[in-house]
Symmetry: C2
Subunit: 187 residues, 2 copies
DNA sequence: GAAGAAGCGGAGCACTGCTCCGGAATAGTA
DNA sequence: TACTATTCCGGAGCAGTGCTCCGCTTCTTC
């Protein structure tokens, strides 16, 4: 545990996170940090002391999201048959990607870089997804030559491109369905 | 036809395109235009007179590529059975996406904006792909509830995310294969 | 060769991510 | 409560970005 922040520092940190969440939701992950600082009524120095880099700020925003997806995987695993559980979870995963445009890139980055704190949450989520996948494969619902990384690559890729243009966003679910069907084992 | 350029202008334009092709291949579509100008030994003004915006420069680089893909579609259509022709063409399409990282975004943009000159080449290529798709569907190789736009969305999405990280690039072909299989009709 | 047009180059503007440090606010102590 | 020591803040500043503007050079044409 790191030591407690001073009261004003704590306030500022929360303000920054609130504003950042709003701004990122509006403008995507490449929103201007200066702008975030301005809207949080805080100096650049303040922002950068709390979050040494853009990545770190995104981590704070996204870490919890990953954790929640990992939790959801466990719930779904116990509540549904393997194939359904995986499909439902992938849908939730994909809509998570949609919330923050550009998240997919950050997500991929954590595949390579295990020094970020986001790596841990991301790894846990990926493990949870891989577990659902394994069960679906054992039950014969999903073809065996797919692994967890394939899953994230496919769904991140499709979900993120679907968010780059309105005309594609409309067929998001259809696109995901196509990929999902492709993973199904031929019987 | 626009009137002929002055000799020096013509030279400069070609130099810029050559350098831009190299730089974009190295650094992706968000390469610095200042850098391109510098390496082409040309002032910023010169670059911007020839290509009023970054998009326009990319258009010049990509337009030809789109046209070539459209041509390839016709060749493949006549040389192979429908299912194979489509699969082969999609592979070429995907590797075209790989050459310029970030191309997918530009490609998607042309879906929305029909004022760019890239739109025409892109539309022609998409029509050619859609034609291959239709034939493959009529022959029963590909499921009927897929259209040309789905095709581009899926392959652009997967190909472009595969280029964001080395660990994904290695499984590029496998990922594309998975999507391709998913489009196959169940017999 | 000279006049005219066409094209060139880079200084400059507003922006970006990020750093640095003098000064202000807070927490602990007396 | 008053004082000090530490923690934290703010924004000026640096090097980079995309893009514009305009005085000057180079080519073309007669």
């Amino acid at each position: 545990m790191t030591r407690a922040l001073r009261a004003d520092a704590q306030r500022n940190r929360e303000r920054i996170l609130d504003v950042a969440a709003a701004v990122v939701a509006e403008e995507g992950t490449q929103a201007s940090l200066r702008d975030i600082a301005r809207r949080a009524e805080v100096g650049m120095g303040t922002l950068y002391r709390h979050f040494a880099t853009r990545e770190e700020l995104l981590e704070a925003l996204l870490g919890g999201r990953f954790d929640r997806l990992a939790d959801r995987a466990e719930v779904l695993r116990d509540a549904r048959p393997p194939g359904e559980a995986l499909a439902a979870w992938l849908r939730e995963f994909a809509s998570g990607v949609a919330v923050y445009r550009g998240l997919a890139a950050s997500l991929v980055a954590t595949l390579e870089d295990d020094t970020t704190s986001l790596h841990a949450s991301c790894a846990r989520m990926r493990a949870a997804g891989a577990d659902l996948l394994r069960r679906a494969q054992e039950s014969g619902d999903v073809r065996p030559d797919v692994d967890g990384t394939d899953l994230f690559a496919l769904f991140s890729g499709v979900a993120s491109i679907a968010d780059t243009a309105p005309s594609l966003a409309a067929r998001r679910d259809h696109l995901l369905e196509l990929v999902m069907d492709g993973l199904a084992a031929r019987r």
